[in-house]
């Protein structure tokens, strides 16, 4: 089976144009739309349905920075970054713990404005993290091997930030009822 990048006719790069990606998604989904196969055989209809699932799955991987980076590591270094592991970097984890404590305080106070500001802070941390992952991927080729273990560590950090952001959204929804 084709990897998500191949399926979308993209070079295996971490950086990608989101608009181009969603345009491609629309075109590809149209080409396998059930209406086109309404008069086709059962086999053709089934094939179109399977293709639709493949396209949606691949899109899910490509649009998420975490999953896209994991897919690239798998592709370039044969590394499975989705395994359940334990991270032990005390400085980073202490910072994450403090962020969760801050979220807990804001959430208890039902401080909607505070939560929105906090979400912005985490988003900019996420952007910085995505930028440093990108930088590590771009280093490959300039007489350098891919620092796959280092990239894996940076993806882990992005995953913790992602989780904090999801928790902020959940806290906001709870306040709004």
């Amino acid at each position: 089976m084709k990897n998500p990048f191949e399926l979308f006719g993209l070079e295996p790069n971490f950086l990608l144009d989101e608009q181009e990606l969603s345009q491609k998604l629309r075109n590809m989904l149209q080409s396998v739309h059930p209406d086109r196969f309404a008069s086709g055989s059962d086999q053709e209809q089934l094939a179109a349905m399977q293709k639709t699932t493949q396209i949606n799955d691949a899109y899910g991987v490509l649009k998420s920075p975490v999953r896209r980076a994991q897919a690239l590591l798998q592709l370039k270094a044969g590394l499975d970054g989705s395994k359940e592991v334990t991270v032990k970097d005390p400085v980073f984890l202490m910072q994450q713990l403090e962020l969760r404590e801050e979220l807990e305080t804001l959430s208890a106070k039902k401080d909607m404005g505070g939560l929105m500001d906090f979400a912005e802070t985490i988003e900019s941390m996420e952007d910085a993290q995505i930028a440093s992952i990108n930088e590590l991927f771009q280093q490959e080729g300039e007489n350098q091997l891919l620092e796959s273990d280092k990239i894996l560590t940076e993806i882990y950090k992005l995953q913790f930030l992602r989780k904090t952001l999801m928790d902020i959204e959940a806290a906001e929804e709870k306040i709004l009822g």
Binding site: S82, K83, E84, V85, T86, V87, K88, D89, P90, L93, M94, Q96, L97, R100, I155, Y156, K157, Q159, F160, R162, K163, T164, M166
Partner: protein, 127 residues
Amino acid sequence: MAYSEKVIDHYENPRNVGSFDKEEEGVGTGMVGAPACGDVMKLQIKVSEDGIIQDAKFKTYGCGSAIASSSLITEWVKGKSVDEAQAIKNTDIAEELALPPVKIHCSVLAEDAIKAAVSDYKEKNVK
């Protein structure tokens, strides 16, 4: 997903939530995290001069099983020597709490946290 009664009990009435000053004499701090689910766990032990764990505290941000696993392990380690505490296996936690297969990693995290706390204590108390 259905949680076991023991998980719910520890989740609703977590034991030993809180912190020690990590610079305090005899305190060991373990920080661990699971990137796949974003859980963060801090586990601290307070050890007497003869190497027995007098008290333990934890703070966990994560799912019910992660909170229950850390709550349970803080109860278990009290009164144990640091070496006994380090020998606690995640499978014992998982069995006690009847964790389903998808939540086994929560018990692994608690085991890793106590190991990290003990090695922090040992590093600080090299004799």
